[in-house]
Subunit: 202 residues, 2 copies
Amino acid sequence: MKLYDATLAPNPRRVRIFLAEKGLSVPLEAVDMRAGINRQPEFLVKNPMGALPVLELDDGSCISESLVICEYFEDLHPEPALIGRTPEERALTRMWERRMELEVMGPLLTAFRHGSSFFKGRIAQVPEMVAPSRAAAAKRLAWVDGLLAERQFIAGDRYSIADITLFCGVDFGGRVGEGYDAGLKNLTRWHEAMKARPSAAA
Amino acid sequence: MKLYDATLAPNPRRVRIFLAEKGLSVPLEAVDMRAGINRQPEFLVKNPMGALPVLELDDGSCISESLVICEYFEDLHPEPALIGRTPEERALTRMWERRMELEVMGPLLTAFRHGSSFFKGRIAQVPEMVAPSRAAAAKRLAWVDGLLAERQFIAGDRYSIADITLFCGVDFGGRVGEGYDAGLKNLTRWHEAMKARPSAAA
C-alpha cells in the first residue's frame, strides 16, 4: 500500500491527518504538482482526474478522492472512530463533513482557483467568480463561527473527519490569501485547538 | 421516518431511486422549492443549507445530503448492495460516485445555476461561468462515454449508486437545456438502460 501525496495541497493533508489520528502509517510518495507530474500519462492511469491523493493497494488498484480513502481506512480500522460507530453517528458526521467540504471550503477554493496565478493556464479562470465566491465563503464561515459558540467540534461533542476537512481548508486558505475574518472568535478558538493536536504536523 | 422531497430536482430523485432499488418505502413530504418553502425558517431548522432532500428520523433529528442519506440506508439495509460488500468494493464505488457527482455533474449544474432564470436572485449568478462549465461537462461526459465502451455500469460490472448519480444528473440536464451530445453512443445506450429500470419511475 502506498499513498501518492503532495505536501502543501489541502486534500492529501486531510488523509495524512486522518491516518495520524488513527495511529496508522502508510508509505508516502510525493508527486510534484508544480511540475505537473500529476497531469502526465503515467499518473493519469492511477487517477484520470489528475488529482491527489491516490491510494495504491498491493494488487495495483488505485483509490482516489480523499474522503473515499478516509472511509476506506475507517472501514479497515474502526477505532478511534473518526466517522462514527452507529449508522446514525456516521450519517451525522458525514453530513457535517460534506457541509464543510462543499458549502464552506467549496466557495473558498473556487475563489482561490479563479483568482490564483497558480491556476492560470491550468483551468479556464473566470475572474468574475472570485468576489462572489469569497463572499459566500465568508458567510458560511460566519455561520460555522456561530455553531462553534455552542459546541467544541464541528459535528458536536467529538472530534471527527468534519474537523479535519475544515481545518485543512482554513489552514490552506490562510496560506494563499483566503484567510478568514479575525473577528470570528469561536472559529479562531477551534482553529487553535486543531493546530495544537499532534496530527496537525502530518 | 419521513423524507422531505422535491419531485423535479435531481438530488431528491437520487434518494428515491436508491430506495426503489433497495425495495424500501419511506413516507415522502413534498416541499415547494419554487415557492421558496425550503428557505423559510421552519425548514432551515431541519437543514440550514436550505437544500433537499432531508430525512427526518423518528427522534426528530434530520439528516441532509443525498449521498449521506443513501449511505445511511445502505448501512441499515445492506442488500442489494448499491455501494459495496467489502471495504475495497465500497471504496471503488464511492470513488466513481464522487467522480460522477463532482467532476461530471458539478460543471453541468454550475452551467445551469449560472445560466438559468430559476436561479436569478437566488444566487449571485456569473454568466461568464456558463460557457467554460458547459465545456468542462461535455469533456467529462465524452470521457464517461469512452469508459462505457468497455463496461456496462459506471463502477464496473455491477449497478451502483454511481449510476444513480449520473442518471439523475443527465436526465435533469436534458430537461433544462443542458443535454449531452447525441453522438455519445455508449452514454446513450447506458442512459436508455437506466431509463428502462423500474426505479426510474421513482
